[in-house]
Amino acid sequence: MKHYSAFAVAREALRYHTGWERAWRSPEPKKRYDAIIVGAGGHGLATAYYLGKNYGIQNVAVIEKGWLGGGNTGRNTTIIRSNYLQDPSAAIYEKARSLYEDLSQDLNYNVMFSPRGVMMLAQTQHEIRGYQRTAHANALQGVQTEWIAPERVKELVPIINIDGPRYPVLGALWQERGGTARHDAVAWGYARACSAMGMDIIQQCEVTGVRQDNGRVVGVDTTKGAIDCDKLGIVVAGHSGQLAEMGGFRLPLEAIALQALVSEPIKPCMDVVVMANTVHGYMSQSDKGEMVIGGGTDGFNNYTQRGSFHHIEETVRALVETFPMISRLKMLRQWGGIVDMTGDRSPILSKTPLGGCFINCGWGTGGFKAIPGSGWGMAQLMATGHSPLTEAFTLDRFKEGRFIDESVAAGVAH
């Protein structure tokens, strides 16, 4: 792998950019790997990367049904924050956020992390109390957030309407070091770094079965033939249930569509991320100038990667009240992803009933922000059998009543 640098750009400019090589190899699968990761999205690739980097396990394959980063990694609104209420969530999301800080240097790939600040608006009395509680919890957890008054909100976001009759802005939970990153670049950067370690990223290869012997995983069947492995990590978001079924166990998940949309590009008008959970819309401005808008999930089980139009209407209608100037914006693109929702709206990073098989799923509507932390914890779990980052997120917590109840903490699915 050739190092990316200012010098490399200059060198390639002198020879008409003929020397750039492919960012990652596309090899045929080998017969056997120490570990196989199913799913080449952000979480899967990050898991592979930290297996190699932190634990020296580099004989790894990442198998992907479609194309790399083409699932929810390429379909989210790129928001990064860690202002969660519960300790286990704050720990893993803050680990992720802090890894994002120098991810570009670590991967030698510009993931365009932009810690522009994330603001969660309080628009009801209930939300004021909720967010003040979260701010206090964050102080104890070592996560830097603060409660700010409406005047400060207006100062940070001049285009906001803070005294609307229906949704007045009463204050906000402000995380200054939250922000956004380029979602595709996160997947591409991890893929390039994995490939450089000698790992095989096998795209267009669907896993069709999980082979097991005496209660232990021994390999997978794929559309490119059988591949042996010692350890298997299933990191496939919306289709986790199908993979688990192949492994002979079940997951407490439901697959639901979540949509997002972007407007036509306009001049810079908002340099922070604003989330409004009462009306359930969130918005940020991309580097191209598009307003990136997300809302809530559709209400019913759905695997189609497209959602219902009236949810978009509800999201936009609410945001127009809070940001009157967007009312004449044309929306350019809309898309949907399949999110895997758990009962407590927190993820599952766990061993499974099948020996040597690990699962990382259930990130629901908030997985992108967690990619580095999730990969870090999952790699530790797969390599050593235990990780302090993931120990609360086990599969059996539902049976034992140890919920990590963020659906209550956030007031919405996050």
């Binding site: 289709h239 249930g241 199908q242 079940r250 997951l251 407490p252 998940l253 439901e254 697959a255 209400g299 019913f300 089980n301 759905n302 695997y303 189609t304 219902s308 139009f309 009236h310 758990t342 009962g343 539902f398 049976k399």
Partner: protein, 109 residues
């Protein structure tokens, strides 16, 4: 846009008139049940990528709950039926079988 026929008022209702109510025909375990059964009742959904039996409410219409059989992969609707049953009536099962031969669902209680 999803359109379901409400078996009570007969209206072809589109999504904005309806509220989704999740998986249908759950067996409700309560006090005295085993941990396993209670856990499965609370959290384990079929979540199939195919035929899904589910509950809907005609909330901005007649207000009644009803059942629907729908495919989560194609959004095709096989039919809707009364809420007062423990399993789909034969004609709904036949309608599903005609389109999805060999479809399965867990045991009806």
């Amino acid at each position: 846009m999803l359109i379901l026929n409400c078996p009570y008022c007969g209206v072809d209702a589109e999504e904005t008139e309806l509220s989704a109510g999740g998986e249908a025909h759950l067996k409700r375990y309560g006090p005295g049940a085993s941990d396993e059964d209670f856990h499965d009742y609370l959290f384990m959904r079929e979540n199939p990528k195919d035929v899904h039996l589910e509950r809907w409410r005609h909330s901005n219409g007649c207000g009644k709950w009803f059942h629907a059989a729908r495919c989560t992969r194609t959004l095709e609707v096989f039919g809707t039926y009364s809420a007062q049953v423990y399993e789909p009536p034969q004609e709904i099962k036949d309608a599903i079988s005609a389109k999805r031969p060999g479809w399965t669902w867990r045991d009806f209680s």
